[in-house]
Symmetry: C2
């Protein structure tokens, strides 16, 4: 049976480190960092995520600055709200909860955040810095997956990694993070001709397709490390992209729930502190006109 890669101990370790880091920050600056959060409307999953973020940030002692906007918010009003958080030097990081209401242009979230405050790595600048191998804050979900691999001492360099899914916030950045860690990386997707042939070669198999039960035991190399980013609700149950029976083949596997999802918020805390320290070193301009052109 596979080792179960629980996310909670990883989150706990990150938050413990964050508490020390916060103490150092408060001692040096005399103030707390803050995370600015933009919520538009009342999407169920956005609200569930917000509650989880509130809990995690409270545990560490970093306040949130929440801007709740109505579901029919206009694009200019949304932009102005985000700009206010971008501008405010007391706000260290800015998070835009998704999904945004459907009347807003697709992809607008990535344009709202000042890259210097982009704790969830959604801007084009953050994505580009990740692709170019420059220091940056990657999206929190794949960063959490990497933290799990690191925490459990699972080797990456020289290994064959296969990522199923190429979304801009999970699959693709995970592939770039694994590449930066010197894995040989294959990116599969809906258009992949023979998915099982690819996944069976993986020493590290990453499921980020959002399709329940996509990865079956026959698709997994015996002893492989399997990271499941799937967040699917089936019959009111949260399930991943990986069939539970994969545990009989894999060497190590993140559970759902309790795996990658448990680490995401801890990464947001880490990134908020990182952005706070960066702003001290390089105070950023009072306004950013076009962060993502």
């Amino acid at each position: 049976m596979a080792i179960v890669l629980e996310g909670r101990p990883v989150a706990r370790a990150i938050l413990e480190e964050a508490r020390d880091d916060l103490t150092a920050y408060v001692t040096q600056t005399g103030r707390l960092p803050e995370l600015g959060v933009v919520l538009a409307g009342a999407d169920r999953s956005a609200l569930a995520y917000l509650r989880a973020i509130r809990r995690t940030f409270r545990r560490v002692g970093i306040p949130l600055r929440e801007l709740a906007l109505p579901a029919d918010v206009s694009e200019p009003t949304l932009r102005a709200a985000a700009a206010e958080l971008n501008r405010d030097p007391a706000v260290s990081g800015v998070l835009v909860l998704q999904p945004l209401p459907h009347h807003l242009p697709p992809g607008i979230a990535s344009e709202l955040v000042d890259p210097a405050k982009d704790v969830d790595g959604i801007t084009a600048t953050s994505a580009g810095r990740l692709a170019l191998g420059l220091p940056t804050m990657p999206p929190s979900t794949p960063a959490g997956g990497m933290a799990i691999l690191e925490h459990y001492g699972l080797p990456i360099a020289g290994r064959t990694a296969v990522v199923v899914g190429r979304s801009p916030v999970v699959g693709l950045p995970m592939a770039l993070l694994l590449l930066a860690a010197n894995a040989t990386v294959t990116i599969c997707h809906r258009g992949t001709a023979d998915l099982a042939a690819a996944t069976r070669r993986a020493d590290i198999l990453v499921a980020a397709a959002g399709r329940p039960g996509l990865i079956t035991p026959e698709m997994v190399k015996p002893g492989a490390t399997v990271i499941d980013f799937g967040v699917n609700v089936v019959d009111d149950q949260l399930v991943g992209d990986v069939e539970p029976a994969v545990a009989e083949v894999a060497g190590a596997l993140t559970p759902v729930p309790g795996g990658t999802g448990a680490v995401t918020n801890a990464i947001l805390v880490r990134h908020t502190l990182r952005a706070a320290w960066s702003a001290l070193r390089a105070p950023h301009p009072s306004s950013v006109s076009a962060p993502n052109r």
Copy 2:
């Protein structure tokens, strides 16, 4: 024997299209676009590239605005020169010739160019837009490789593509372009455990490692399409990363010289026009303070 994927006919077709596009632009605006070029010092390969660019742009009728700086140029002077080109509305695109002199910080080139004028796709914003699947101008070399595949009608979607090399201007963006075209993409590099096993699976094999003779016939699947981005000088001869004998196994192969290298400048012309049209639609701010933060 493999079909020889000559670059010149591809470049010719792109430049022909560009001439029509230029006529339309001049008719509508009453002025010519311009490409701003920053040259620092007198590196041999940068100068050779500049001569080739001059020839190509002259053929189409787009003037260059060349800023030649001394080899010992200071970082502030270099930044000011680039900022001048970024600011000038008469300059549609900005190219920083590389390598820059060694006393300058590594990676500075990617910070000098306004993303809206980034005709060679070197800024973090351009790299991020490419990674996120947003419209952008990718680096000209891999864009030229894609133009060759397109020109010769070689299928990409659903195919297995293997890219050897992950440099930010060739290997990695080529992988992202192939992914956007729905190939299943594997990125190999120095740390790949069994390179031949990976390359032998490739329907489309891309060599972008900068190592002469790296790809031998045994490493190539019979009938594969091979794109060689190698630019190596061996015994005063320009050679690629692919052994000539690969032509006996591959289905199609770009020659060196005369393959991918012949298309790069034509892409720069296309991008300069594209940036000129974009600036008409969305006049950009008179100055860009921190395009790449």
